[in-house]
């Protein structure tokens, strides 16, 4: 602990250099994660970053902790299996909007419902970057930059915070890539929160959505304390513009699995085998 606390954010970065485009919001998320780790004095050996596939999912390799870069959409499943099997570890799942809300959408809502004590950071740039800029579930209806949907997706985007709330997530926050220090604080709080914590990060894509540089003028920091009632949070998430940052909703709820008594252990094996004997 004493040694860990002296580590600075940069000490939590690995030797591997990001492949992201200069200006990508994900750099900021990486900085926020390492700042949060430094702030918490987290032990690198007992921390695991798990991701799926996409630009943002490259992140685990850039952090000097244990990591798992899985397949598209399944990071949350890996992260939950890991945490349930190894409750002693600090587990963060990361991914993008396509990974988390499209191909991994089912895992997202069930992770919210299941409330395993992990942190999920969804780095939302409203676009599939690794495949050349197609619309994602959070892309605005009229965004017509993709050849795949030349007239825009024409479909209402998801509201990830509302979705998380409806699915039962007990801790919902929003960050913005333009404010890594606030994001670092949110990540530190998410890691400390005893349950599933969902941090939705508006992380700009400079390459496919250059218009997102305007987010800077839209984003606001929410002054009020986090809502503790799902009713109020529902009103907020359904009516807000999606650019309010901060801890938006937090309800204390028992996480899963409940801390049980330690079972008898391996000596129960003989009993299991014996139960078949006549």
């Amino acid at each position: 602990m004493t040694e860990a606390i002296r580590l600075k954010a940069k000490d939590y970065k690995s030797e591997v250099k990001p492949i992201w485009c200069p200006g990508c919001g994900h750099f900021s998320v990486l900085n926020a994660i390492t700042k949060a780790m430094a702030g918490l004095g987290i032990d690198k050996d007992n921390t695991v970053l798990v991701s799926g596939i996409g630009c943002s999912s490259r992140l685990p390799a850039y952090v000097d902790s244990y990591g798992f870069h899985g397949v598209h959409g399944r990071g949350l499943a890996i992260a939950q299996g890991l945490k349930v099997a190894r409750p002693d570890l600090t587990v963060l799942a990361l991914g993008g909007d396509g990974d988390g809300f499209s191909i991994g959408g089912n895992h997202f809502i069930h992770a919210c419902r299941r409330n395993v004590n992990i942190t999920y950071i969804a780095m939302d740039n409203e676009v599939y970057g690794m495949t050349k800029g197609q619309a994602s579930p959070t892309t605005p209806m009229d965004w017509d930059h993709s050849k795949l949907t030349p007239h825009g997706p024409g479909v209402r985007p998801f509201k990830p915070a509302a979705l998380a709330l409806a699915a039962g997530a007990p801790w919902i926050a929003r960050g913005y890539s333009g404010n890594p220090n606030q994001m670092a604080k949110l990540i530190a709080e998410a890691v400390t929160h005893p349950g599933f914590s969902f941090l939705h990060v508006m992380s700009q894509c400079i390459t496919f959505c250059p218009e997102q540089t305007d987010w800077k003028s839209i984003v606001s920091e929410r002054e009020e304390p986090a809502l503790a009632s799902a009713d109020e949070a529902a009103k907020l998430f359904l009516h807000e513009d999606g650019f309010q940052t901060g801890l938006l909703y937090c309800e204390q709820r028992p996480s899963w699995p409940p801390a049980g008594e330690t079972a008898s252990g391996d000596n129960a094996l003989a009993g299991l085998a014996a139960s078949f004997r006549l």
């Binding site: 591997v16 050996d45 390799a61 895992h107």
Partner: protein, 568 residues
Amino acid sequence: MSKRQLSIAITGAGGAGVISCGELLLQAWARQGGRGLLRKAYGPQIRGGESAALLKLTDDECYTAASHYDLVVALDWDNFARFEDEIRLGPQSWVLCDEAEALPASILAARPGIVHLPFAELASACHPEGRVNMLALGVLGGLLGLPCAGMVELAARKLARKPREYREAAAACIEQGAARRLARELQVPPTAATGACYMSGNQAAGLGALEAGIRFVAAYPITPASDVLEWMAGGLEQLGGQLLQAEDELAAINMAIGAAFGGVPAFTATSGPGLALMTESIGLAVASETPVTILNVMRGGPSTGIPTKSEQSDLNIALNGLHGDAPHLVLAPLDIADCVFTTGWAVQLAQRLQTAAIVLSDQFIGQSTAIVSEPRRCPPLAAGSAPAADGEYLRYKLTSSGVSTLAAPGDAGQRFTADGLEHNEKGTPSSRQSDHQRQLAKRQDKLTGFAFGDDWARISGNGPLALVCFGSSSAAVSEAADLLAQGGTPARVVSLRLLAPLQTDALDAALQGCTSVVVVEQNHSAQLYHYLKGQMDFPQAVHSYAMAGPVPLAPESIARAVTEVLKP
């Protein structure tokens, strides 16, 4: 040598409790030292509908589905047609039924002896809560010479949670049934009178997995694999392990991979449709070298297929379903008891070789219950030589065995990022040809270079003919070999337990001296036959006998087909 066996089918409307009747009869039989198998057949209804308990009592443990039934006990005949393909009668068969006038044409055609017994009337007469299944249990126990008190006690144990009157009624019916004297008798096989276990293949696989160290299971329900997961849930609770019910099979396999990455041996069980969903991530386990074991309890396919019936038709997907070059382990238990050994072996191999192991069980051995001698266990694998830990930790270090040191989170100073992207020795993503080729070779070599020992197959018999099969076909093929030997054609039987990596040299040696080979399997497209032909150059003439489900492989049909094939 002709074996002595007795087969009994008990059919009735769902709700009548024919399965319980069969289970209790088999347990009472086991207490006398008997050996036997219970298969269960159902209509598509969850409750009600019709069901059948298909019993086979033998003097050995070679459990094939009965080709004919010596006795059919029909509590009613409604919708018996559903079971017509499976419940066939022999020349000596007889029928015990309540409604003699309602006999189906398929039964009448076999001209069986018919004994009428008013089950319903007798059951209500002996107790207001009387049940026909318990009466039938008493009658059948009487025919087998089983002590009445034993059946009453087993029934009381099974019905422990029911009201007292309910148990009293059961006892009264069993006693009433046991006291009946019928006009016909049964040829009862001798009993072995040695210690035995009573288990289904699914339970056996679960036990083998837990004994081999599995402490994490991710579960998504699917017929006919759900009962493995249910049994393991109870076991894991006692062992201090964890079971996580997933939202789908995509999650289940990834949860298992996550747990395994955490250093906790992990497992999931599924059937064809679930295996199809899992294949992408099984590839992830292969590429990231994360050990995981997947039990696939095969059922009729494709698509939803025939969920309640057995087939060996997932061999292709188990061997070849993964995209890219993804060497992994595929094993198949040969019978119910062998589910303990083979699943335990698979778990150990997956851990040792840091890869995915797919175990191909099927509905027949998975959901049948049998009395078996204490199952053989897979001993712990001999420790491998740990690669020298010199300098920087490289997760995917190239070693002579292909196996590199696997650190787990919490291990000091061995931090790495596991990756499904092709990577270099350190684990950093790389699309370079040299890295790709080296890592592909590493993942292949650690399997092909491993000494799997003698358990890759079960080999029996001698003769110029070889019958090659895998998994649960083993019993039917062995019995077919007996029939062929009786007919003057002795045969060698090679039952493959390890399908990938195929032990081609060992198989070649096992077939030495044989001039012809027949590959026997329960599927339509001869999947094993084509696989073996693709993997080896056989000096022998190789033939195929492939018969799709849902009716289990019959030794007589195999023997007949083989004789036909061998005709000059």
